[in-house]
C-alpha cells in the first residue's frame, strides 16, 4: 500500500513542470525552504541548530580562557584578547545559545503538544528567528568591524553585564560596545516577538478539551516563560537605548563624569538579568517535567502544585535582582530585603525537586539517554540551588560575589541545569523530529565524558573562589593557592570536548544510520507522539480532542483512563 502511494507521487513529481535548479533536494531548493519557511517545526530546528553552532564557538572561547589560566603568569593570551573572549563567551552563551535553544524547543513542541497546526503568527515566528540570527552575526562581526574610527576596540570587552561607566566613551573607545548594544537590542526584539507569539498560541490555539488545567506542564512552564520575557526584556532594551544616547547624543544616564549613575545601569540590567536566569532555567524544568514521568512510567507528581510553584518562582524572580548588587553599597535594609526575597525562591524550587523525586518514587525507571541526562540535571541542579541559597546569605556574598564561587554556581545552573535538560530534550524528541532513534552507545559516551568533564571543570572553581580568586582575571600570581584548582578545571574542559564531539557525531550518525523510530518510540503520553515522525506539515490531519493531561494514556488504557481521576 505504502509503496504504491509513493510511486504515484513520484510519477506526479516527474510530470510536473519545474524550474531548473529547483528540484527537490537540490541546494537551491533547501536554502529556499529554510529562508522562506514559516513552519514552526523547521524554525524550531533552525533555532536549536543555530544555538548549537554558537554553543561550539562560545565553548571554544571558554577553552582558550581555561588554557590561559592553566599556569600562573601565563602569557598564552594577551589581556585584551582574554577580556574579549570572556565577554563574547558570556554574551553568546546567554543570548545566542540559551535563548534560541529554549525558543527552539518552544517553537517545535508547543503547537504539537496543544494540538495546533502552527504558531499563532507564523510569519512573526520567522521574523523572530532571522532577527535573532542576524543579531548573533552582528555581535561576531565586531571582530572585523569593531576597530571603527578610533582604531580601538575590536570585539566587546566590557563583560557580559557591561557595567557602566566602563561602557562610556571615555573608557570604551571605538565601536565594540556599540556592536554589543545593537546586537542585544535586536536580540531583544526577537525574544519579545517570539514570546508574544508563544503566549497567544498557548492561550488561543489549544485543541478541543485542552483546558488550562489539562495542558502538559511543558506548555504551562513556557506560558510563564513567555510572560517573563515580556516583563524582563524591555528594561534591557531601554537601558541599551539609554547607553546609545549616552555614547552618541550626550545624554548622561550612566556617564558618571557628567553626573550620571553607575548603579542605575546595574538596576536596569539585573531587573532584566535575574528573571533572565529563570527564563533560561524554566524551559529546563519544562523538559524535565516531560521526560521524568515518561521514563518513570508515572504521571507527574502534584501537577497543580508544580504549576503553582512555577508561577511563584516567576513572581519572586522579579523581586530579587539586587542580590547581584550586594556589594554596591546598599543600605542594610536593602541588603536584608533582597536576601530574604532570594531565600524565598528556594521554597518553590525545592518543591519542584521533591515533586520530580516523587514522580520517580514507586515507578519503573527506564535508564534511557533522556532520563540519564535528567538524573544528572536533578543532581547538579540540587548543587546549583544549594549554592544559590548560600549566595543569598548577603554577608557571605560580600566574600563570594564576583569570585570563582559565583562562576561555579551559575555554570552549575546553566550547564548542570539547563544544558543537561537540553541534551535530554534533544535525545527525547530527536526521534520525533527526524524519525530515527539516537544511538545509545554514542549517547552514553557523551553522557559520561561530559558529566565527568563538567564536574572536574566547575567543582574546583568553588574552591578557588573560597580561596579568594576573583573572576575575569587573565592572570594570577603564583603562590596564592589557586594553581591546582585552575589546572583541574582546565583538564576538565579537555574531557568535556570529546563528550560534545560524541554528541555531534551522534546527531549526524543517527540522522543517516539511526534505527527507524516510529511514531511513539518512548511509549509517551502527550499529543506530539500521536502524529507521524517527523510530523507532516500542519501536524495533524484531524485536530485531536483531549479529555485529560495524558491523552495518549487514555487511548492506550481505555479501561483505566486518566480523566476518571483528574
Amino acid at each position: 500500500m505504502a509503496t504504491e502511494t509513493s510511486t504515484v507521487e513520484k510519477d506526479y513529481e516527474f510530470s510536473a513542470p519545474q524550474k531548473v535548479g529547483h528540484e527537490k533536494g537540490s541546494l537551491t531548493r533547501i536554502i529556499q525552504e529554510l529562508v522562506f519557511t514559516v513552519d514552526h517545526k523547521k524554525l524550531g530546528l533552525m533555532y536549536i541548530g543555530a544555538g548549537l553552532i554558537f554553543f561550539v564557538v562560545a565553548g571554544l572561547m571558554a577553552t582558550m580562557i581555561r588554557a590561559q589560566l592553566f599556569f600562573p603568569n601565563n602569557t598564552f593570551l594577551e589581556p585584551a584578547v582574554f577580556n574579549r573572549f570572556f565577554t563574547m563567551h558570556g554574551t553568546a552563551m546567554v543570548f545566542l545559545v540559551g535563548m534560541p535553544i529554549i525558543f527552539g524547543f518552544a517553537n517545535y513542541l508547543v503547537p504539537l503538544m496543544i494540538g495546533a497546526r502552527d504558531m499563532a503568527f507564523p510569519r512573526l515566528n520567522a521574523f523572530g528567528f532571522w532577527t535573532f540570527l542576524f543579531s548573533g552575526l552582528l555581535l561576531y562581526f565586531s571582530y572585523l568591524g569593531g576597530p571603527g574610527l578610533y582604531a580601538a576596540g575590536s570585539a566587546p570587552d566590557v563583560g557580559w553585564f557591561a557595567y557602566s561607566p566602563l561602557t562610556s566613551r571615555a573608557f570604551s573607545r571605538g565601536t565594540s560596545t556599540d556592536y554589543w548594544t545593537l546586537s542585544l537590542l535586536m536580540g531583544g526584539i526577537a525574544s519579545i516577538s517570539t514570546a508574544i507569539n508563544l503566549i497567544v498560541t498557548i492561550v488561543s490555539y489549544r485543541c478541543k478539551g485542552m483546558t488550562l488545567g489539562r495542558m502538559p506542564l511543558f506548555v504551562w512552564l513556557y506560558l510563564v516563560v513567555g510572560f517573563l520575557v515580556i516583563i524582563a526584556v524591555p528594561p534591557l532594551t531601554a537601558c541599551q537605548i539609554m547607553l546609545m544616547l549616552d555614547r552618541y547624543l550626550g545624554a548622561a544616564f550612566f556617564d558618571t563624569q557628567a553626573g550620571g549613575s553607575a548603579v542605575l545601569w546595574q538596576h536596569f540590567f539585573w531587573i532584566f538579568g535575574h528573571p533572565e536566569v529563570y527564563i533560561l532555567i524554566l524551559p529546563g524544568f519544562a523538559i524535565a517535567s516531560e521526560v521524568i514521568p515518561v521514563f518513570s512510567r508515572k504521571p507527574i507528581f502534584g501537577y497543580p502544585i508544580m504549576v503553582a510553584a512555577t508561577v511563584m518562582i516567576a513572581f519572586l524572580s522579579l523581586g530579587v535582582w539586587a542580590h547581584h548588587m550586594f556589594t554596591v553599597g546598599m543600605t542594610s535594609l536593602g541588603n536584608t530585603f533582597f536576601a530574604i526575597s532570594t531565600m524565598l525562591i528556594a521554597i518553590p524550587t525545592g518543591i519542584k525537586i521533591f515533586n520530580w523525586l516523587g514522580t520517580m518514587y514507586g515507578g519503573k525507571i527506564r535508564l534511557e539517554l533522556p532520563m540519564m541526562f535528567c538524573i544528572g540535571f536533578l543532581f547538579q541542579f540540587l548543587i546549583a540551588g544549594l549554592t544559590g541559597v548560600i549566595l543569598a546569605v548577603a554577608p557571605f556574598t560580600w566574600q563570594l560575589s564576583d569570585s570563582y564561587f559565583v562562576v561555579a554556581h551559575f555554570h552549575y545552573v546553566l550547564i548542570g541545569g539547563l544544558l543537561y535538560t537540553v541534551f535530554a530534550g534533544i535525545y527525547y524528541w530527536y526521534p520525533k523530529a527526524f524519525g530515527k532513534m539516537p544511538n545509545k552507545k554514542l549517547g552514553l559516551l557523551h553522557f559520561w565524558l561530559f558529566t565527568i568533564g563538567f564536574h572536574l571543570t566547575f567543582a574546583p572553581q568553588h574552591v578557588s573562589g573560597l580561596l579568594g580568586m576573583p573572576r575575569r582575571i587573565f592572570t594570577y600570581e603564583a603562590g596564592r593557592g589557586w594553581e591546582i584548582w585552575n589546572q583541574l578545571s582546565t583538564i576538565g574542559v579537555l574531557i568535556q570536548i570529546p563528550g560534545i564531539l560524541f554528541f555531534v557525531i551522534n546527531l549526524l550518525y543517527s540522522y543517516w544510520k539511526g534505527k527507524p523510530a516510529g511514531d511513539d518510540p518512548w511509549d509517551a503520553w502527550t499529543l506530539e507522539w500521536a502524529t507521524t515522525s517527523p510530523p507532516a506539515d500542519y501536524n495533524f490531519a484531524k485536530l485531536p480532542e483531549v479529555k485529560s493531561r495524558r491523552p495518549l494514556w487514555d487511548l492506550k488504557h481505555p479501561d483505566d483512563p486518566d480523566w476518571k481521576y483528574e
Binding site: 570587552d157 573608557f171 508515572k298 535508564l367 541559597v389 560580600w398 564576583d402 600570581e477
Partner: protein
C-alpha cells in the same frame, strides 16, 4: 605572666636597637616586608572582625545546605537504584499516583522553616557589620580606585600613598580596640575592594562614597584583588594591607611624614633633572616639589613600598628599571606610556627614584 611580658619588652628593645643600627632593616620593617606574607587568602581563615562575623551565617548556611545535599542525594540514588526497571520486568505499568497533599505540604513547610532560620541569622549579621559604631580613635582611610591602581589617603595624618594600605592592628579588648574605617571612591570606573581575610568586598563606585571597615588582630601582609572587572588590567590591580603592631605603625607614619632626602650623587641629580624636565610630573606627585600630578600614584615615598604597578612586580632595581624603560612591557595596556627614554636616562631616573624614601 609578668615574665612573658618582660621577655617581650626585652625582645622589643633588642629589635629596636638592631633597627637603629641598620637603616636597611628599618626600611624593610616600615614597608612591612618582614611580616608574614598571607598570600593564601582563604576566607575560612579570617584575621579581622567583619570577615570573622561573616563566618557565623556562612557556617550556618553551609551546614544546612550540606545536610539538605546529603539527604536529597541519598534519596535520589536510592530511588534510581530501587525503582530501576528490572530485566525481569513484565512490561506492566506501575501504580499511577497523581500526588499527595500531605506529602507536598510537608516538603513545603520544612523548607519554609529552614528559610526563616537563615533569614534571621543573615539579617542579624548584615546589621552588625553595616551599622558598626566606631570608637573615637578609629583610623580613617579614603581609598580611591583608578584604572588599575589604588590611591590611599589618610585624612587624619595627611599622608597619601598607593597600592599598599598600612593600618595598625587592633585588640579584642574594647578599651584598646582600634578599627580602621575606609571610605571607598572611584576616579573612573567601578572597582571593588576585597581583602578576603579582612573583610568582604565593597565596590568603589564613581560619584558615590561607599563605606567599609577592617579590624585585624594579627600583624601581617594581607593580599587582595580588585574584584569588579574594570578593564584591561583588572587582573593586575592587586592590593596589600600591611597590618602593623601599633609601634611599627607609628614608625611607618613618621617615615611617611619625614622630609624626602635630597639626591646626592651626580647620577641621582641627573635623574632628578630628567624627572622634572620630562612629563613624569604631569601625572606623579613628589612631596611639595613642582611634581603635583594626580593621574598616577604619588611617588613621594616610593621606596617604602613592596611592589610597583599595583603589585604587578616586586619593587627592586631590575623591575623598577624595566618599568621606567617601558611600562607597557611590564603591564600591557596600563595608562602610563612608554616615555621613550634612552637606557642611560633610565639609569639616572631609577637612581633618582631610589632616593624617594
Amino acid at each position: 605572666m609578668g615574665n612573658v611580658k618582660h621577655q617581650n619588652q626585652q625582645g622589643f628593645l633588642i629589635a629596636a636597637f638592631l633597627l637603629m643600627l641598620s637603616p636597611g632593616a628599618l626600611l624593610a620593617n616600615v614597608s612591612g616586608s618582614d611580616y608574614p606574607m598571607k598570600r593564601v587568602t582563604d576566607i575560612f581563615d579570617p584575621q579581622s572582625l567583619p570577615a570573622e562575623m561573616i563566618m557565623t551565617p556562612a557556617m550556618v548556611v553551609l551546614w544546612i545546605t550540606l545536610g539538605i545535599f546529603v539527604v536529597v542525594t541519598t534519596l535520589l540514588v536510592f530511588i534510581v537504584i530501587r525503582y530501576r526497571r528490572k530485566s525481569s520486568d513484565d512490561g506492566s505499568e506501575p501504580p499511577q499516583i497523581y500526588g499527595s497533599t500531605n506529602i507536598e505540604l510537608a516538603w513545603t513547610v520544612i523548607p519554609i522553616l529552614i528559610t526563616v532560620v537563615l533569614i534571621l541569622v543573615t539579617s542579624r549579621t548584615i546589621g552588625e557589620i553595616q551599622n558598626k559604631v566606631f570608637p573615637e580613635n578609629a583610623l580613617h582611610i579614603r581609598l580611591v580606585g583608578h584604572q588599575w591602581w589604588w590611591e590611599i589617603h589618610y585624612p587624619q595624618l595627611g599622608i597619601i600613598t598607593a597600592n599598599e594600605i598600612h593600618v595598625p592592628m587592633s585588640y579584642r579588648d574594647p578599651a584598646k580596640a582600634r578599627p580602621t574605617r575606609i571610605d571607598l571612591q572611584s576616579a573612573d570606573v567601578i572597582h571593588s575592594f576585597w581583602v578576603p581575610q579582612l573583610a568582604g568586598k565593597t565596590d568603589l563606585v564613581p560619584n558615590r562614597t561607599n563605606k567599609t571597615w577592617i579590624e585585624p588582630f594579627e600583624p601581617g601582609v594581607y593580599f587582595g584583588n580588585c574584584a569588579e572587572y574594570c578593564g584591561t588590567q583588572h587582573a593586575n590591580m592587586l592590593l596589600r594591607v600591611i597590618v602593623h603592631t601599633p609601634e611599627d605603625f607609628e614608625r611607618w607614619v613618621a617615615a611617611q611624614k619625614a622630609p624626602i632626602p635630597a639626591p646626592v650623587t651626580s647620577v641621582e641629580l641627573e635623574g632628578e633633572k630628567l624627572f622634572y624636565s620630562t612629563s613624569c610630573i604631569n601625572c606623579h606627585k613628589v612631596g611639595d616639589s613642582v611634581a603635583q600630578g594626580i593621574f598616577g600614584p604619588d611617588l613621594s615615598k616610593l621606596m617604602l613600598r613592596q611592589t610597583i604597578g599595583a603589585g604587578v612586580a616586586p619593587l627592586d632595581d631590575k623591575h623598577l628599571w624595566a618599568w621606567v624603560k617601558d611600562p607597557q612591557e611590564v603591564k600591557v595596556g596600563c595608562l602610563m606610556p612608554n616615555m621613550q627614554l634612552l637606557d642611560a636616562e633610565v639609569d639616572s631616573i631609577v637612581a633618582y627614584l631610589k632616593t624617594l624614601k
